[in-house]
Symmetry: C2
Subunit: 222 residues, 2 copies
Amino acid sequence: MNSGSANEMTENCPIARWRRKKEARPSEILDAALAQFVEKGFRATKMEDIARAAGVTKGTPYLYFQNKEDILKAVVRETLVANLKDIQLLAGQHAGSTAGLLHLMVETWWHKVGSAPSAGLCKLMIAEASNFPELAQFYFDEVIQPSTEMMALILQRGIDQGEFRPLPVAHAVDALMAPLISTMIMNHSFGQLPGCPLASTHNPLAYLKDALDLVLSGILKK
Amino acid sequence: MNSGSANEMTENCPIARWRRKKEARPSEILDAALAQFVEKGFRATKMEDIARAAGVTKGTPYLYFQNKEDILKAVVRETLVANLKDIQLLAGQHAGSTAGLLHLMVETWWHKVGSAPSAGLCKLMIAEASNFPELAQFYFDEVIQPSTEMMALILQRGIDQGEFRPLPVAHAVDALMAPLISTMIMNHSFGQLPGCPLASTHNPLAYLKDALDLVLSGILKK
DNA sequence: ATCAAGCTACTGAACAGTGATTTATTAATT
DNA sequence: AATTAATAAATCACTGTTCAGTAGCTTGAT
């Protein structure tokens, strides 16, 4: 919400005195942490980086959070879990064809997640999952599992209504999610390299739509 | 090649005297490093882990390699670049239909890369790319770029021969690779979690074949 | 309204553990 | 005896976390 506004004063004016802001600090720290984590990864982000980006000093984050891992958990909750709920809502409200819903979901996902810092956070979770099993479990339970279940329900409904042909739902779910995952991954690893010509980094939204159409043509009844 | 055999003696017999093996050391160290990197990731792997796994002490790897990053580069060269060449050879020799070639490539890829330590290494490169730009560029130039070009050539040939319908080649290439990428990613991040029901981690080869068929049905001429 | 006096958000220096790399020393091989 | 592969102790830089001290804010008596 107030991302970037936390440190106007402290950054512009070296003589600035600090203020006491008990209410605002936590979210300022989380906003700063999100940006730093996405930019540098979890391990490479120092507590001092987070603190400075939030306009405070090293010790302050420890007034509001247990430790670095706790901050990451809070960031994930604020962004990814929230994103997922938005999309679940969208899916629940939709009335038209299931194929149309999938198109709408991809587009919405791109705007809210794929092209946002959230995507960097997903990539970070994937990168760090094996180093932090507890964190991995948390992310799996709160994000991956619910997403997968939602997609499975949607596909199953498409089959039941005769719009899709019968197919192994679990495989189709993964096939639909794979382009999203690889887009996030690529954009936040090799995407910034000079002269990277991957479709998913060059024109992501167009790629995502084409990828969806390719898979859909295998799913739809002929 | 001799993975795991490097340290028979040193591990079993605490009083064992070390031996001088100038020729064998580099590959023993690289084998050990591959295993450690795949298990723990790059940063979390200590030089001492690598050394001990190779049956030597901390200082020894520095006799053969500049530093930790240099070891990773060498590991990537020995495995991923070699894997790619194998698959390029396979593609070059194939005679039958292009769709058949794609099926063969997926199966071969699974045996040589997807289910092997190589997959863990790919995931590691993705995870660390943004922290090591030079390494990222190296991997992009040596692995990603050539893979993409190979796939593009294959698809283009399929189109030229009238087997595939005309389509945006770059998008289709990414759509074909996405399931492979997400399989590697998932298997080496959340795949080991208790009760992970993702298709790509539960029965990867079956999933990969289904995913290929789904995309193929969008590519093939009707 | 003013102004202490106390509360506590915040600071920043110090601590402690870690891990990459160096180097003086040891001992296998020739 | 000379050579040098390998060791293991020492170095050095880094960073998560703590904590004693500082200063912004609030309160309540005047």
